[in-house]
Symmetry: C2
Subunit: 97 residues, 2 copies
Amino acid sequence: MIENPFPELDMVIHSPARLQIVSALVLLEEADFVYLLNVTKLTRGNLSTHLSKLEEAGYVAVEKTYKKNRPLTILRLTVQGREAYKLYRKTLLDFLK
Amino acid sequence: MIENPFPELDMVIHSPARLQIVSALVLLEEADFVYLLNVTKLTRGNLSTHLSKLEEAGYVAVEKTYKKNRPLTILRLTVQGREAYKLYRKTLLDFLK
DNA sequence: AAAACAAGTTTGAAAAACAAACTTGTTTTA
DNA sequence: TAAAACAAGTTTGTTTTTCAAACTTGTTTT
């Protein structure tokens, strides 16, 4: 009998849409809304709500500014978010090996 | 701009509960319901429905028998299920590297 | 000045997950 | 030996999550 070695996975990150977002931000330090839209292929509505969830969790910081008279929303991982991602990644890698 | 290298993840397997079930079955060739109950720590109800979902997907074969006058349900991965798991694993490992 | 557009947000419906209640058959116990 | 408890599942009902469509606000274009 395997002694339940299953790790708790952080569901905020485990969702494919958010895993994608977080992975992009890990590499890039920062990205704007439209960039993430292109990378993830999510709809604007869904990107918006997934970002809200990441923000609520304290994993991304949202900065709303303007550029050329248009809204520009910049996203960054927080330290917490970066830590959470590292843990999620290690957890899953260890498990899948 | 990253050219969306995000892989499609098989959601039947991606769910933590089912990932756990499938991982156990990959190692063991076969297991019964009560064993999986202990390994996964799911409730009986939820294990039942997750197994149904895996069966519908064609990933596990369900054999209902009796042992000592009690129902005994034996679960095995199908070839399809094994293939799907291998692909899921490779996909996610490649992505997380 | 109306129409189209850009960048988001909010809302509503569908799907997924979880927990509680139910079923069926078997032991145990009073 | 009838009632109570138990074992192995399944079904049902509620909550949570996800996705798509509609809405908002401000700016160009025609």
